[in-house]
Symmetry: none
Subunit: 417 residues, 2 copies
Amino acid sequence: MSAEIICIGTELLLGDIVNGNAQYLAKQLARLGIPHYYQTVVGDNIERIKQAIAIGTSRSQILIFTGGLGPTPDDLTCEAIASFFDTTLEERQEIIEDLQRKYSARGRVMASSNRKQALMPQGAEILYNPTGTAPGIIWQPRSGITILTFPGVTSEMHRMWEETAVPYLQNQGWGKTVIYSRMLKFWGVAESTLAEKVNPYLNLSNPTVATYAGKGEVKLRVSAKAENSELAEALINPVTQKIQNIAGLDYYGADKDTLASVIGVLLYQRGETLAVAESCTGGLVGKMLTDISGSSDYFWGSITAYDNRVKQELLGVTSQDLETLGAVSAVVAEKMSAGVRLRLGTTWGLSVTGIAGPSGESNNKPIGLVYIGLASSQGTISFENHFGASRDRTSIRHLSACTALDILRRELITTKY
Amino acid sequence: MSAEIICIGTELLLGDIVNGNAQYLAKQLARLGIPHYYQTVVGDNIERIKQAIAIGTSRSQILIFTGGLGPTPDDLTCEAIASFFDTTLEERQEIIEDLQRKYSARGRVMASSNRKQALMPQGAEILYNPTGTAPGIIWQPRSGITILTFPGVTSEMHRMWEETAVPYLQNQGWGKTVIYSRMLKFWGVAESTLAEKVNPYLNLSNPTVATYAGKGEVKLRVSAKAENSELAEALINPVTQKIQNIAGLDYYGADKDTLASVIGVLLYQRGETLAVAESCTGGLVGKMLTDISGSSDYFWGSITAYDNRVKQELLGVTSQDLETLGAVSAVVAEKMSAGVRLRLGTTWGLSVTGIAGPSGESNNKPIGLVYIGLASSQGTISFENHFGASRDRTSIRHLSACTALDILRRELITTKY
């Protein structure tokens, strides 16, 4: 038994909107443990919608539609469904009354085009829309096939799903098992390297382990299927623990954790404070740190020294450093971190200076060369990074900021003061 | 002739990510005037991928795949394609060499699992990935069918599409009528207000005008269909000109313009410089300004004074201001802007101080209260904003940063010094 999501709307085919409805329904199906192997997007065209229904009914038992329930002539979902299952549409008086009530509550008169929204396939159960005008249906047009329709408006769809569809599906005996996932997050390791290290776990069947990578980060999703979330967690916990042990410091957190939130917890626990000096990242490190509510407990502030004069006047970099070594150098990174730490009076000073491109490269300093400095009462250290001239400005800046945070994270975990 | 988008990845079926790749490709196909009637999402399962190919080839002539090109065992796109078209995979030496070059440039050694990414169907043309490790293919496995594959990583996919796939498709004679769009961007006006002002233009048929809104910004997409982009532009230009005249200062730019890029052009033309003092935005304003390559010409730097001590020591805010008025006040915003301007020696000083939430509200200062200060040789001014306690931290920070940039933009346009 599996479900298929069919999203209807030419705006999806034109790329005017992203398909957030499919993501929402996919998550919901996973949570209910209802398998789901296909999603289809099709435009406002009756023959193509019917073709999608033909394919869907050949491979799935529950078809979930979004979109195409409005009052305009290009809203064709109900018509296509009725035609495919060879039945007629009938006007439902209770929908007409519901619509008239809603319009009069808003001090308006129902437009005659809204009558279209009361036309439903014979025998279909109405799925009321508490907030909008487009009702949906739940219908078993033939044995083994269940149809659910929802409007494309996200907030209406969510409420109808949660209040009506979920209880219905559970009453039918579906959604008795749950799929529970934990996303493990890693920084400073390549996807292929991590996959080799945890290779035995990639072939498990329950829980399953899958790798993801993007923007310099590697993730492993550990998913278990069980009768309830406690049992699923009991399947997941030993596996995530073993993977974390194998990954060591490359593992930084799970689910909603970010590098910045993990650093926040560590600094807070240690009762320590942080100041940041940025050049090529221009404020991005500070932005990431202050994405976390409560970060004022440990993040005191930052100096973005985009111009070299600011590096000199506020951070203690000397004109000699800039002339002989250049702004993108280990020494300047270290002085920036020490300078901002001293100036703001914090436990730690963290700095980034590099060439984010696409311009700014020089003879022996390529785009993607980034130095990170870290200062504490124990002195300063610096780290040289080569993020590659083939990467774009946004990627290099993102990698630079995350790598700086990751360096501090590793230092906070491994050092005791 | 039509194209079909097939996105591969269990993470899409689990709802872990939203299908932004489908939206991007849909937009691109519309721009090229290539019809596209279906999108399919399928998991990392070879039989189901082959089934999607069977359906796709029965109704579309161009199949565009994203995802499933990585080095791990669940990356099955190439294998499924080769198997469906009854050919074998062969290791391409040139890909191995490219991968080795990329790894050694980053000071790493290629894992043996990466060799999998060099396995391509016999006869397929390689679509090189300039930024990542997963190459794609362009292949005509049989007459009338063209296959394109792209990695799921968005930035890599975009670059490969633009640099390689678009020229290829156009060489093949596809994309002969173009849909050409210009996205007009507005700040500081509600969608409904703008829609009323430009109402007559919303009913045109070529070009069409559609409104979009999100994250405080309003956009109008003006799209024309024509034989080439010059003819399409000739349809678009008079309409966009009239809309810009109606919108006045609320219009800030088009397409890739951002508030920060528009400010950059204005400052550069005036030969002026900018420094920023941030509190609740924590670096976001600086990050936005330095998203623009070349911003070092006019953006000298910023001080993020997250802790009140930093506001006092570096920005000239007094302890009396903080005690009597509080850090979130018009006076502190003005002093921060004047302080950073003085400290960094720039033409303009721009500041933001506010309560981004979810904590931090006080008796008469609600979440969403944000003051913006602007300092120049003419003195300082401040602006009080109420972004609303119902908004979340991310939205309030984004609105704060954009509004600060917009205030400077309006000042730069309307004042002459």
